[in-house]
């Protein structure tokens, strides 16, 4: 009886502590599961424009002329000649691809997808370092939640009856999937 009280108290407190992070990870999990269908981290906007004929020459001078015609005052991070007739101008969060001498511009703007970028940063552990340790702690917490959760209720609705069947049903899903796929 005393042991069950400890199990319930542990499950409750660890559950409260990690509830918020579980929700955040769940949202990010759905977002990155569908990475083939959308970009969960960035919103990309692309636009094609014609700036008119451009004189070829030094890549930095070409970039200056492109930025002048596009009325962009920002200093480029870098300018790269990708091929004899293709120059890329890199700005902060923006890439301008210019074809020469036609002056056709392919303008790509990227901005972080609000909320999702941050959630995915945590969930996919891009930060490493401290977050690796905290994510390990969280994983251990989930283990504690799972192990204590199945012992909260005794009797027919616990492991002595319905609980056991639900436990086996849940376990069978990954096992059957692996047997099917591998």
């Amino acid at each position: 009886m005393r042991l069950r009280r400890l199990v319930i108290a542990t499950h409750r407190d660890v559950g409260y502590f990690f509830a918020g992070l579980t929700v955040l990870y769940a949202i990010s999990g759905i977002a990155v599961n569908h990475v083939e269908d959308w970009n969960p981290n960035y919103v990309l906007r692309t636009e094609t424009r014609d700036l008119g004929q451009l004189q070829d020459g030094d890549r930095n001078q070409v970039a200056d002329e492109v930025l002048r015609r596009m009325e962009i005052a920002e200093e480029p991070k870098s300018v790269v000649r990708m091929s004899p007739n293709l120059i890329k101008v890199f700005l902060d969060g923006r890439t301008i691809t210019v074809t020469l001498p036609e002056g056709r511009v392919y303008d790509e703007l990227a901005r972080r997808r609000g909320g999702f970028f941050e959630l995915n940063y945590l969930h996919l552990n891009h930060g490493k370092g401290f977050w690796t340790w905290f994510a390990d702690l969280y994983a251990a917490g989930l283990l504690v939640l799972a192990c204590t959760g199945i012992f909260i209720i005794s009797g027919k609705k616990g492991l002595g009856g319905r609980g056991l069947w639900l436990l086996l049903a849940g376990l069978s899903v990954p096992v059957i999937y692996l047997l099917w796929r591998l």
């Binding site: 542990t10 991070k77 990708m82 890439t95």
Partner: protein, 172 residues
């Protein structure tokens, strides 16, 4: 109850102290360990010399895997010669904001030849490229190429040359 909370706080604090020292600016993976970079022209001009060897290249990041950050394209800004640095998904993640930044990267140089079927399929795809295709000329987005190269990998003489990246330093 208080004891549990204090214990949790202690664990978090210790983890922060232990991990704090590992934070390191713009170093990705193992960083770079080789002193001298191989010029891009030499790497792509005589690839057979470098296949299977660990090499370092320097250049500007002209492409980043938009969704997973699992590759970067490193290009010589003067000549346009470039090489794909492919890393394992999730092991190293390059931020999209690194586009246009100077970088040093290293890893094992690989050459993956396209099969005759892939060459034929590629030629057919290029013929049927829809007008609305969003990539700039010369940069078709191609998936399903050998060796998990990622999208937009340059192909030279029906061979994909790439570096299986072990680390990089982005000099922003």
């Amino acid at each position: 109850m208080k004891r549990i909370l204090v214990s949790m706080a202690m664990v978090v604090l210790v983890a922060a102290i232990v991990a704090g020292g590992e934070e390191a600016g713009a170093v990705y993976g193992d960083g770079v360990t080789i002193q001298d970079p191989v010029p891009m022209s030499r790497l792509l001009g005589e690839p057979e010399t470098f296949v299977g060897k660990k090499v370092r290249v320097d250049g500007v990041i002209t492409g980043v895997c938009k969704k997973r950050g699992c590759w970067i394209q490193v290009t010589n800004p003067d000549t346009g010669e470039g090489i794909r640095i492919k890393v394992e998904d999730g092991v190293i993640v390059f931020p999209y904001a690194a586009m246009g930044e100077p970088v040093s990267a290293e890893g094992i140089f690989e050459a993956v030849a396209l099969t005759p079927e892939q060459v034929a399929a590629r030629a057919a795809r290029q013929e049927q490229q829809p007008a609305s295709h969003s990539h700039p000329p010369g940069e078709p987005c191609e998936k399903g190429l050998p060796g998990k190269t990622g999208c937009d990998v340059p192909i030279q003489d029906n061979t994909v040359y790439l570096i299986r990246g072990t680390g990089a330093v982005i000099h922003s």
